[in-house]
Symmetry: C2
Subunit: 195 residues, 2 copies
Amino acid sequence: METATTRRTRITPEREAELYEAVLDLLREVGYDALTMDAVAARTRSSKATLYRQWGSKPELIAKALRHDKPTSLEDIDTGTLRGDIHAMMARSDDCQMERDTALMRGLFRAIHDNPELHQALRNLLIEPELTGLNDLLRRAVERGEVAADNPALEFVVHMMVGGFAARDLIEDRPVDRAFLAAYIDAVILPALGV
Amino acid sequence: METATTRRTRITPEREAELYEAVLDLLREVGYDALTMDAVAARTRSSKATLYRQWGSKPELIAKALRHDKPTSLEDIDTGTLRGDIHAMMARSDDCQMERDTALMRGLFRAIHDNPELHQALRNLLIEPELTGLNDLLRRAVERGEVAADNPALEFVVHMMVGGFAARDLIEDRPVDRAFLAAYIDAVILPALGV
């Protein structure tokens, strides 16, 4: 971990944020396969050596850029009710960002399955932490007595959430926005949990 | 429509089924972008002229192949209860076919958004008929008094269904199978509908 810390001090947080944004812009523009470390280096005016030293690999760089893009950690959400927590969690992005997120998801969906390394990096850096945060939030709701501990929908909350995003995009061909998510949470997620 | 009928008589149902299967095999192997009419012609030992005369375009051919792959039309499902109908609807494919379907979905997800023509063909031939069938099935449940006519989850059933498939694949990295779908229907879809 010491080397990792040493490495981190070589780049300012502002520069890091700038670089992650450039990576996500490129990802939206050209997709995962066509995104090369050369392109990232050119776009961000950094050397490829620096990119590899700092991030190790393309999947890791992309997974970290995606993680950085999440405006709020789930750990910071604790409103005192499940309804409040879930609405806060689903509304972490504004409407414009949700549309950009959906565009990213589309490109990643296929790439993830063609690239086990990318899938692993996303799993470690993004999916697992989110699932842990979600499970903490649900555990608190069970402890408060809002949801029965044996409610079978508890293990499907992430499926319901993904469905809201994917079907809005794929079937309805409309962007996900806060109004849609708020209606979806109240009509689907909370009733399935018996709230 | 007369010319369409005339065209259809030029090919036997067996030959048509064989051709659709070859198209889906190719789609799984190489993805939408790399699937050419030349490749379909070679694989099925037909002439490109025949393919274009019979199907008009690549998006139409692919959408028809996907529609043909659905083993049961939603119109044939009417068990008398919503629970029975939804379980029958979600279990139209066997486990092996569900895994193949998911592989297809992955490749199509990105292609759909890069190819408006493909999206339109899928919408006309696959998505709209499925949505109509689903709405008929839900309307009957409302008429029987199983679901309140004003239940807000009625408009999100397709989102819940897509979520089951997409998140199982994307987050859990496990294939969708009948056991998972049966549990998901009972834990999520029916409770959200108040059944």
